[in-house]
Amino acid sequence: MTHLVIAPIIIPLFAGALMMLLGERRRVLQTALGLAATAALVVVAAMLLLRADGASAAEVQLYRLGNWPSSFGIVLVLDRLSALMLVLASVLGLAAHVFALARWDRAGAHFHPLFQFQLMGLNGAFLAGDLFNLFVFFEVMLAASYGLALHGSGTARVRAGLHYIAINLAASLVFLVGVSVIYGVAGTLNMADLAARMHDIAAEDRALLETGCAILGVAFLIKAAMWPVGFWLPGTYGAASAPAAAILSLLSKVGIYAVLRLWLLLFGDEAGASSGFGGTWLMLGGLATIAFGSLAVLATQNMARLAGACVIVSSGTLLAALGAGQVAVTGGALFYMTSSVLAIAALFLLIELIERGREVGADVLAVTREAFGEGAEEEYLDDDEEIGVAIPAIMALLGLGFMACALLLAGLPPLSGFLAKFAILAPLIGTGADGLPATTWAVLAALILSGLACLIAMTRVGMDAFWAAPGPPPRVAMAEILPVAGLLALCLGLTLMAGPVMRYMHDTAAGLHAPAGYVGGVMRP
């Protein structure tokens, strides 16, 4: 059973490769294979989560590829944080996949294999134990995301995709520069080994190593869409097809994951003179990101771009909370991340259903047919095809879902968004018995004001969509409403089971803030 750790990479890899061999024509087989793979991923991720949770706080699961010692070989590392991210990725994957089956998988070529490779890249990035494999899995993830962002084609997607690809290629080069500077100074790329060597870096080399880490951090923060390097996000996510956007919304959290993992590992209390390097910048960057995201939320009229702006707000909140560098705050931030990832994915899926009634998607699909040429017409989506049935009171269902998303993103009770913000703010305030520092006040104000901005914008957009909706209600398939309901039900589950979930998050945060356990676990002979 030790081999279970590599399963989240192997399953989508083989499923995707097999789908390529089967070809586009055998759609039923591809669909069945894809569903089986994504469902298996959920099961494997849940098993890994239980296993990670069962271990003591300091313990990590190590998987050595080729059984080389950790300082020479490639290792996969599973701890609570990776397990949490794996579960998030697989759940989002299943929801987006089921959603896509209703019609989006036919809007362009190779949806199913691309989707599997996307999941493989995500899972690999969460499991990678060294910087270079992190880079490789980032690239796998990005290469698949380029395909998914362009899925369905059309002028708007290609235009946004062009920017997205150019920015991410440049970011990858920055990533490589950072990695090679770190290797040049420290002589290792294994994260645990690097953390162990941080203390003994010579004083004259320390500035260079910190520069390398900062360059690497810039690459991650571009992915996480921190202000001022996050302007690409709303356009790309807004233009992408709904299931692709739902899975892309997790991609920005991969940047957060990498910052969380590396910053706490390398610049924790045991890092000697480098301890706490860059923390202020994370917090200030996070605050600027929240401010920019809130303005973007208020300024945007388009629903999909609104969801993109919500991704930016969520990234900013996480960065600001991480910058505080306190165990309890990090625990709250992890809870916030889980809740906001699920809510934003549900929102992206919902928006497509709502806008369908307003005939926004129709013109995009027409362009798709044009781009694929006349011959391919019958193979791809037919506009006259009846999608699902007109469920009575469908608008009421969609409206309820939208309201739940608004509550979750604005951080209002009774759903988990409120608990998450509370879990970040309570420890921040609680520590300041003798007057709060200015930064704490700033975070407090930013979190609450960004919630207000979200609420105002979503109320306005919601009134526009549900109360002033002209024309007949949209036709929605069961396969489309189920994933949205499932994601929102998970948020409800987070609210009801907040005790055990928060306990898990605090254990995770405690493990992250005491990197000695991680280092010892990976470097053991």
Partner: protein, 114 residues
């Protein structure tokens, strides 16, 4: 040797960044290619630069760890070359699709108003 490599990397990076900021998609892709060459050279140079050294072993001599070049940056460069090559090819396809769909090679898909 260091000076030549450093100037080479600097010139490639400078030209790459300048081209990356240009408005035509073809210039952008050339800029990205130049940048990736610069980065690959940079990674390669982190393994240490020596001239006139044997690739692995001195003829007739016994191997010594101090005379070996560090193989890891070379492995990194190989991987980085393959990845940047593939992604550049992909970008080229998107570039052509954008040209076909928008009718212009401006990165924003429309000419700027003058």
């Amino acid at each position: 040797m260091e000076l030549v490599v450093a100037i080479g990397i600097g010139v490639l990076t400078g030209s790459g960044v300048w081209l990356l900021l240009r408005p035509r998609t073809f210039q952008v892709i050339m800029g990205l290619s130049l940048l990736s060459y610069a980065v690959n050279l940079f990674i390669f140079s982190t393994g240490g630069l020596r001239t006139g050294a044997a690739p692995v072993l001195e003829p007739g001599g016994v191997g010594d760890l101090t005379t070996h070049a560090d193989p890891l940056p070379q492995a990194l460069v190989l991987t980085a070359i393959v990845i940047s090559f593939a992604t550049t090819a992909l970008f080229l396809v998107v570039l052509l699709a954008a040209r076909g769909l928008t009718g212009t090679d401006h990165v924003d898909g429309r000419e700027q108003d003058r």
